[in-house]
């Protein structure tokens, strides 16, 4: 570096200061930044440091430093939730005090129940019944018009509150399909399987139907009815329609008769608020299958 800094004069122009740095005769012009820019930079540094002191910042062994003003994102979320809970409180009260069948007549309640119910459904119900409520094998489709235990608002409400075969709930829906593998001989099960397939309108072996009908009348008609149309009081499905929770193939029907079925749905009365249960009841009812 050469010590001769300052004032270079390119041909015909004003003098321009150099930084005094010179490498092999190449000198560096000094185009100074405005000083306020430097102060702005210092200000951002101070802001950053202050932010670290005021807000939670440095991770320590157990948790981060707390910050001076005690900001907490969980508390902030809690506050938001409380805010909305309070804002919705009048609607919740109205929803609980309105008869289920009268909700649809009140547009504000109906809208609240349908949108709130959709959220409850996606959080608590979609795991089994599917996000679109179309169900799966063993988990009923809630969009169709076939209901094991009834599809009115009251029926759905009871099912959600007390569940299906929920142990410890006295009001739960209770009754189950016995395992006939211990009661009937294997040929008898084959016979009654083909009889059931015949009333379901599915492919079957006609030679077995007559003997199967007799076995059905003796063993199955108590719950499923003499014509196999089911009984909602017992949750016994209609065997003459197109909707089969566990499938309509010969194998699936034989398996059901041999081993029995006892699908289970939890009771939600202790896990959801009454308003939430009513919301999701209304939501399910308006999906297209409600009665």
């Amino acid at each position: 570096m050469s010590p001769d800094n300052k004032k270079v004069k390119p041909a015909g122009e004003k003098e321009i200061e150099t930084t005094g740095h010179s490498w092999d005769g190449i000198r560096e012009f000094n185009n100074p930044l405005p000083r306020w820019w430097l102060w702005t930079f210092y200000a951002t540094v101070i802001w950053g440091l202050a932010y670290m002191v005021v807000y939670p910042a440095f991770p320590l062994l157990k948790q981060a430093t707390q910050g001076l003003i005690g900001y907490d994102s969980r508390a902030s979320l809690e506050e938001d939730i409380n805010h909305y809970n309070q804002a919705n409180a009048p609607l919740d009260t109205a929803l609980v005090s309105t008869a289920l069948d009268d909700i649809s007549a009140r547009p504000d309640l109906a809208h609240y129940a349908a949108t709130g119910g959709a959220a409850v459904f996606k959080t608590f119900c979609a795991q089994c019944h599917g996000a679109g409520a179309a169900g799966a094998k063993g988990y009923p489709n809630l969009l169709d018009d076939d209901w094991l235990w009834g599809g009115s608002l009251g029926d759905i409400h009871l099912t959600i509150r007390h569940g299906i075969r929920q142990e410890g709930d006295d009001d739960t829906r209770f009754s189950e399909m016995p395992a006939f593998g211990e009661i009937l001989e294997r040929p008898e099960i084959a016979d009654v399987t083909h009889y059931v397939l015949s009333i379901a309108g599915s492919t079957h072996n006609p030679s077995l139907v007559n003997s199967g009908r007799k076995i059905f009348a003796e063993n199955c008609a108590d719950c499923h009815g003499p014509e196999g149309r089911g009984n909602r009081d017992l949750g016994a499905p209609n065997l003459t329609d197109r909707i089969w929770l566990y499938g309509r193939s010969q194998k699936a029907v034989a398996e059901t008769i041999t081993n029995g079925r006892k699908g289970m749905m939890p009771a939600w009365q202790d896990r959801l608020t009454e308003a939430q249960i009513r919301q999701v009841t209304y939501y399910i009812h308006q999906l297209g299958g409600g009665e």
């Binding site: 010590p3 800094n5 005094g20 930044l33 179309a134 969009l143 169709d144 076939d146 329609d241």
Partner: protein, 476 residues
């Protein structure tokens, strides 16, 4: 061993600029532009426009909560944001056009930074006097007189800042009622915060930062350099006419000197604090005040105007040789600027066309895909669709819904015994879940997909709106 002791500072202290008052054609034009642009900015929110009951009567309103943009008879919904995008593209191409033709004309005449700085300097000149008085005041000790003047000036600046921030928030809410709530102190916090931020930026940028904003903060000077060419009209100094410059010309041999009398008028009026005689500089915002200042001096000396003037680089050689510059319109109308104008106009025409042909009803159908179909107890196949009807007119409208399908064997249902008709409130969106049913063993039920067309027809306006969709049968 010699060590260099004096390192020059890498940071420069701010040198204040004290632009002198100037009169002239460009200054007059700038006063007019300032009046019109500031007038538009401050007064627009107060223009009323009747849109009928239940609709805002503010001519220009950005309704963020209701997600609507109103501008007189035009109403933009969020999904029509392409209109705004189109306007932004037009603004961009407009800047290309003006920059390639007239250089940094935006910076010099229309940029808010320039306009508000001009306004602030006007106030400053009114309180503190013109250039020399302001320089004296700047160098004076902080005595009572100076404090009083500073207090008055800053108070007026702050008032302008508050009015500027205040005008901004009126674009986002009903101006008269927001003004009332601001005066009563009941306005929402976001209004106060917006006013606060804009007051601070107006006060600081217009009062203290001024040319620093243009030189150090704004990216536009750098970008614009790429848009200029040798035909762009920029402000320059005819050094071949002015040099060698000399003071006291009357006493000297006029033949030996140029026209520039080195009076520094061009430098004194410059709001950027530069000397245009040094050539084109990054700082120059082409505000043309130096032209006015120099023209005035030339007039008094009895010499032709235009020692400092708008000129194009391509004329320089010609002019130096004593020729005449090409007329300004030859520089402005050339293939490049004409192409920009054509593109700009095409987008404008497309936007206006789009504005006039858009319907005040929008109808869309979203098939529910989870599940793709539902089998009912009797074997009926049911598909679910969500119909969305946007009524963009200011009146309530009733519609009948219907379907046409490939095999004409589908049935529409709204659930229960409801008639297939809906009523949509004014200026709102209505969602309707509908069911389409195919009876067991029908063609549509046993075909994988059937095409289906939904239609709606207004009760008063029987014109049908159609949307195509598909129906999913049992065979997938």
């Amino acid at each position: 061993m010699t060590r260099k002791l004096s390192t020059p500072s890498l940071y420069a202290a701010h040198e204040p600029v004290f632009p002198r008052r100037v009169k002239g054609r460009f200054r007059t034009l700038k006063w007019w532009i300032m009046g019109v642009t500031l007038g538009i900015y401050y007064l627009t929110p107060w223009i009323r426009f009747d849109r009928g009951p239940d609709m805002p009567d503010q001519a220009v309103l950005v309704d963020l909560a209701g997600r609507r943009f109103f501008m007189f008879w035009i109403e933009i919904w969020p999904h029509e944001f392409y209109f705004v995008a189109g306007l932004l593209i037009m603004a961009g191409i407009g800047l290309f056009l003006f920059t390639s033709a007239l250089g940094r004309v935006w910076c010099g005449y229309a940029c808010p930074q320039t306009v508000w700085t001009d306004l602030f300097i006007l106030v400053e000149r009114w309180i503190d006097g013109d250039r020399n008085a302001r320089i004296r005041l700047w160098n004076r000790k902080w005595d009572l007189g100076k404090i009083a003047k500073r207090f008055v000036k800053w108070s007026l600046w702050l008032l302008i800042g508050v009015l500027t921030g205040g005008a901004w928030v009126f674009y986002f809410a009903d101006a008269p009622s927001l003004a009332t709530s601001l005066l009563a102190g009941t306005a929402p916090p976001v209004a106060w915060a917006s006013i606060g931020v804009l007051t601070a930026t107006t006060f600081v940028f217009g009062g203290f930062m001024r040319e620093q904003v243009c030189t150090y903060m704004c990216p536009w000077p750098r970008i614009q350099a790429a848009m200029m060419d040798e035909d762009t009209l920029t402000i320059g100094y005819r050094f071949w006419r002015g040099e060698p410059r000399a003071r006291h010309q009357r006493q000297l041999d006029a033949e030996a000197h140029g026209d520039c009398v080195d009076c520094n008028a061009c430098f004194n009026v410059c709001p950027m604090g530069i000397d245009i005689r040094d050539g084109q500089q990054l700082q120059c915002i082409t505000c043309a005040l130096c032209i006015d200042a120099c023209d005035d001096v030339m007039r008094r000396l009895g010499k032709p105007r235009g020692l400092i003037d708008y000129m194009a680089l391509s004329d320089e050689a010609n002019e130096k040789a004593g020729g005449k510059p090409r007329p300004a319109w030859r520089h402005i109308f050339r293939p490049r600027t004409i192409l920009y104008t054509v593109i700009w106009s095409l987008i404008g025409v497309a936007l206006v066309y789009g504005l006039f042909v858009r319907s005040d009803l929008e109808f869309s159908v979203a098939p529910v895909r989870n599940p793709v179909f539902v089998t009912l107890a009797d074997g009926t196949i049911r598909n679910i669709y969500e119909l969305r009807l946007r009524n963009k007119s200011p009146g309530v409208k009733s519609f009948t819904i219907g379907i046409d399908s490939e095999f004409s064997d589908l049935e529409l249902s709204l659930g229960g015994n409801r008639q297939p008709s809906v009523t949509v409130a004014a200026d709102s969106t209505y969602l309707q879940r509908v069911y389409v049913l195919a009876s067991p063993e029908s063609l549509s039920a046993s075909t994988a997909t059937t095409s289906i067309t939904f239609w709606v027809a207004g009760k008063d306006d029987a014109r049908k709106h159609f949307v195509k969709s598909i129906f999913n049968g049992e065979k997938q």
